[in-house]
């Protein structure tokens, strides 16, 4: 796939680990630039850093702004002051859209060290949807709701119905993280493809894919490390997604800091093969 005419995949990057990526963030992107359709970035906290990212790293590639801690699914969410702060970053980045995993992000007033899956409750799905709809008046770009990683799942409805209720109420788009879908299927003992088919795939504008592993001690848990190889089951879900998500615009390969260049090359090539075989091309473009 190297040297293919049109880039098919974007990279998902984390600014707080910029110096820990193989060869550094700028060199990493430059190394693969010809094969990248876009970049997604999380953990940018200052406008100056956002400007540096847009001008020094993205350099014309469309940007997706991955948010954290806005938390419309928190008990007291969303965090409006954080949304306003991150919105100014979104504007500086000139991002195409914003995305955040739907989950619990806080312990009281503090950020959780790692977010937790939401409570899969039908009343609460509608409530979160209404909150996301209200966020429209602040956000400069569309907010897409991402399927979260699930090492645990409880509630009175399943993932598919939860996201259908939520996105219907919010009338928002969705990011389908196929690794996260796999994690939910694993912990609930469901079939991964059936789980994915139950989601409102017609709302999906972006797909995330990343490496991970099944916990050796507790095989019902998926470790969403971003630094392992991509599991075959996850690539199977990617193939299913590109064939069934009619409005899919972008596929993002989320890069963990533990991945070496060779492993990134291998993962990217495997994703490109899936997309090329499906004759899928990205539609994402800068606003």
């Amino acid at each position: 796939m190297k040297g293919a005419s049109a880039p098919l995949v974007g990279f998902g990057l984390d600014a707080q680990h910029a110096n820990r990526y193989a060869s550094g963030l700028v060199n990493l992107v430059d190394h693969f630039r010809a094969r990248l359709s876009h970049l997604s970035i999380v953990s940018l906290e200052r406008a100056e850093a956002a400007r540096e990212f847009r001008e020094g790293v993205a350099r014309g590639l469309p940007i997706v702004h991955h948010l954290s801690g806005v938390a419309p699914a928190d008990p007291d969410g969303p965090n409006i002051s954080r949304l306003e702060k991150l919105n100014s970053i979104t504007v500086t980045l000139d991002a195409v859209w914003c995305v955040e995993d739907i989950g619990l992000w806080s312990i009281g007033p503090y950020a959780m060290p790692y977010f937790a899956p939401p409570l899969f409750d039908k009343d609460f799905a509608r409530e979160i949807g209404a909150r996301i709809r209200a966020m429209d008046s602040i956000g400069a770009r569309p907010f897409l709701a991402e399927v979260p990683s699930c090492t645990f799942a409880i509630g009175n409805i399943d993932l598919g119905n939860f996201f259908r209720l939520l996105t219907d109420t919010a009338d928002c788009g969705m990011v389908l993280d196929v690794s996260h879908v796999f994690s939910y299927a694993l912990v609930t003992g469901r079939d991964p493809v059936e789980t994915q088919s139950s989601l409102p795939l017609e709302r999906v504008r972006e797909v995330h894919v990343a490496g991970g592993r099944i916990d050796a001690v507790h095989p019902f848990r998926y470790v969403d490390s971003h630094s392992d190889d991509i599991l075959p089951e996850v690539l199977g879900l990617l193939e299913h997604a590109v064939r069934h998500c009619a409005h899919l615009e972008a596929v993002t390969y989320e890069i963990g800091v533990g991945l070496k260049i060779g492993a990134i090359e291998q993962g990217l090539t495997r994703i490109e093969h899936v997309l090329a075989n499906a004759r899928w091309v990205p539609k994402i473009s800068a606003p």
Binding site: P75, L104, I107, G108, Y110, F124, I154, R221
Partner: protein, 229 residues
């Protein structure tokens, strides 16, 4: 013991209110607590198993649908993750406590009401505020206070200190905010550094000192100690 009994009772009544409510938000808050607190989980599952009539019907059905094994594994992973997070945020305190004691204190913190009802300006400072009054060793107590302030001061430099209730005014040149307290131990090493376990003899020496923690313009944080005369 009385303090612990009162804390358990307060927790029980708070969890009790959540269990009795039909509101989805109550289930959500209960879910959050189950993710971190084994003490809350024990209360919740015991009352559900006993068919407690005070439990809301929807909440009871919801609790009975929880896979307790999965929850227990999830909670252990989250407390491990929290322990790692607090170790990085409070390196001096974690180092002086040692890995095992640090993990035990973090688990106690996650079980406490203070974990949810914040006092500190940051989560690590809240942990230090929880820990400091429970530590008998004056050196560990002072280290907990310093690590807490080092974490809390940058989070709210214009705010009020949860340790003193006073504003953290920039009381020295080049500082954005400062916080001052009296220490009954030397605290710093002969080189003026924060201690590690090997410095216990020097840092733990009984001497009245004034400790100044300052946040500077460039976000650097410094700890100074002055002997009281």
């Amino acid at each position: 013991m009385q303090e612990r009994a009162e804390a358990m009772s307060a927790r029980g009544s708070h969890v009790g209110a959540l269990l009795a409510s039909e509101a989805p938000s109550a289930r959500l808050r209960l879910y959050q607590r189950l993710l971190y607190s084994s003490a809350v989980a024990d209360v919740v599952f015991d009352r559900a198993r006993a068919g407690d009539p005070d439990l809301a019907a929807s909440t009871l059905a919801w609790i009975r649908s929880v896979n307790e094994e999965h929850l227990s594994v999830e909670r252990a992973a989250r407390v491990r993750n929290l322990s790692f997070h607090l170790q990085r945020a409070c390196p001096t305190l974690a180092g002086m406590l040692g890995a095992e004691q640090h993990r035990e204190w973090v688990a106690s913190f996650a079980d406490s009401d203070q974990f949810w009802f914040a006092v500190g300006r940051s989560l690590p400072e809240n942990y230090c505020l929880f820990l400091a009054p429970r530590l008998e060793d004056p050196l560990l107590c002072a280290v907990a206070r310093v690590d807490g302030i080092l974490s809390g001061l940058p989070a709210a430099p214009d705010g009020v200190s949860p340790w003193t209730g006073e504003r953290t005014l920039p009381a020295m040149k080049g500082a954005v905010a400062t916080e001052v307290f009296s220490s009954p131990v030397r605290l710093l090493t002969a080189e003026g550094a924060l201690p590690n376990p090997g410095d216990r003899r020097v840092a733990g020496e009984s001497i009245d000192r004034t400790i100044v923690v300052a946040l500077l313009n460039n976000q650097t944080r410094v700890v100074l100690a002055m002997d009281e005369v």
